[in-house]
Symmetry: C2
Subunit: 321 residues, 2 copies
Amino acid sequence: MDRVSTIVEQILQGEVRAAARLMRDLDDGIPEAREVLKQLYRHSGRAHIIGITGSPGVGKSTLTDRLIQYLRQEGRTVGVVAVDPTSPFSGGAILGDRIRMQRHALDEGVFIRSLATRGHFGGLTASARAVITVLDAMGKDYILVETVGVGQDEVEIAATAYTTMVVTVPGLGDDIQAIKAGILEVADLLVVNKADREGASRTYQDLLQMLDLQSIRKNNAWRPKVFMTQAKEDQGIQELLAGVREHRDYLMKNQGEALLAARYQRVRQEFLELLKEGVFRELVARITDSGLLEEILQEIVAKRTDPYSASEYLVKKVLSF
Amino acid sequence: MDRVSTIVEQILQGEVRAAARLMRDLDDGIPEAREVLKQLYRHSGRAHIIGITGSPGVGKSTLTDRLIQYLRQEGRTVGVVAVDPTSPFSGGAILGDRIRMQRHALDEGVFIRSLATRGHFGGLTASARAVITVLDAMGKDYILVETVGVGQDEVEIAATAYTTMVVTVPGLGDDIQAIKAGILEVADLLVVNKADREGASRTYQDLLQMLDLQSIRKNNAWRPKVFMTQAKEDQGIQELLAGVREHRDYLMKNQGEALLAARYQRVRQEFLELLKEGVFRELVARITDSGLLEEILQEIVAKRTDPYSASEYLVKKVLSF
C-alpha cells in the first residue's frame, strides 16, 4: 500500500494522530495531504454538521462545551472546528473557560481543531471545509463548527452547516438589529443564552417577532425555533439538542429531500470556493512568472490605466474557452 | 458632456449627493458607476488613509468620532468608511453613541459611508476600496477606515491604510495574546483606550514588550508607537494625532520612498483582488451557461469525483495562455 492509501486507511479507522498530522500538512500545503483529502471525500457525508455562530461574549464556547458533554453522554462521537479568535478552543478567552474545555482533551471520542488564521490551503472557509471532511471521514457522528458571527467568511462557514444555531444574549439591544440582516437569515435555531439575565423574555419575544417578519429564508419550509439556555449553569441544553434533532428529522423527511438539497448546496459552494482559489492562484503564478503582473502594476501606478480596466482586460485575455 | 463625465466632474467638485448616489450605484452593480470609478481613479492618491481596527467594544467609534472632531478643528476634510457591524456609524451600538455621531451629520466637510454587507461590487474589501477611491477623488484630506478586527477581510482592509491603528483596552487579558498574531503585525500605532481603567499601564507595558519581541513587520524601519487615550473623555487624542503625523512624516522621508512603497503595495493588492473577483465571476457565468457546472456538481454529488480534483481539472482547462 502506498503512503497516501495508508494515511487514508488510518483516518477512516479514526486514528487521532494521523488526523492531526494530516490537518497540519493540509495547512502547510503538502501535496500528498491534498491527495489524501481527495480520497477521503467519498467517505464523507455521514456526519451531522452543526454551525454555532454569534457575537463575541455570548457564550458560544460554553454552549459548544455543553453540547459535546451531552452528545458524549449519549455515546456519540464529536468533532469540533473552532474558527473564532475569541474562543477558548482556539486559545482565546479567559483562564476559567480554558480549564473547562480541558475535560474533553483526553476523551478519544472528541477531536477539536482550531483555525485561527488562513493556512496555505486557501481561504479560511476552504481550511474549515477540509477539516470538516477529515472529521467526517473519521466517522464522527456530529461536527460542531464554532465561528464568531462578525466577519463575512465566518458567517458563511456557519451557514453551510446542516443545522445552524445563532446565539445571542439579553441586552445586546440594537446590536441584534444590526446583525440581523446578515446572520438571522442563516439561522435554523436561535439561542438566547445567559437567559437568567434581565430582559431575556423580551429578547425571546423580539426574536419570535423578527421571525414573523422575516420573509427571505434559505428554506421556507422550516420555521426557525428559539431556545433559552444558561450554558454555564447547564440549563436548557437538552431542549436545544431536541431542537437539533427536530431540525434533522425535518431534513430527513420525504426520503431526505431537504437534506439532499442542503448537501447539493454545500457541494456547490465548496466547489466554487475551491475553483475561485485555484484559478486565482494559477493565474497569479503565471502572470508573475511572465512579468505581465509587474507591467500592469507599473501602468496603474503611473495612472496610465486603473485597476478596474486592467483587471477587465486581463480576465478577457486569459479565459480561453 | 456625457453622463459619466458629468458625474466625474461633480465628484471632483466634492458634491455630496453625487457621491452618495455613486456609492449606491456601485453597490447595485450599475455599469455606468463602474465607468465613473475608472475615471476617478487617476484623481485619487492624495488623501491620507488611516485604518482603525480592534475588537468590538474597545471604543473604535468613539475614537473615530474624536479624530473627526480634531481634524475638523484644523480645517481638514474627512471621509469615513465604517466596515464594522458593531459601529454606530454602521447603525449598530447603543443609542448614546449614535447621538454622539449625529453632530457630524450636518457638517459638509465630513462624509460617512457604512458598509455592512457585500454589495454587488464583489467582496467587502473591493467595496471598501471603491468607497475610499471616491472619497479620495472628492478631495478629502483624511479618510478614516473603521473595521472590527475579527474577520480576516476586516483586518486586511485596515492593513491597506497608510497608517494603521490597532485599538485595545486594559483587561482584555488573554485576548490580546489571541489576536496578536493576526493584528499586531499590521499596526503602525497602538492605542490603549479607556486608559482610566485598572491595568492600563500594565497593558501599555505588555504592548511595548510585545513590540520588542516582534520581528516580522510589514516595514522594519518604523517602530510602532503606543498611545493611551480616553476617547469618551477627550483625553490623549491630540497626542495620538501627533503620532499619525509622525508616521506620515516617516512615510514622506527621502522623497516619500516609504509612501511610494506603501502605495505600490496598495495598488498590487487592489488589482489582485479585482482580478480574483473578475476572473471568478466570468468563469462561473460561462460554466453555468454551458451546463458544465451542473455536470461537474452531479459528478461530485454521486462521489464519482471530489471537489478538489474537479476544480484542479477545470483550472487547467480554462486558463489558456
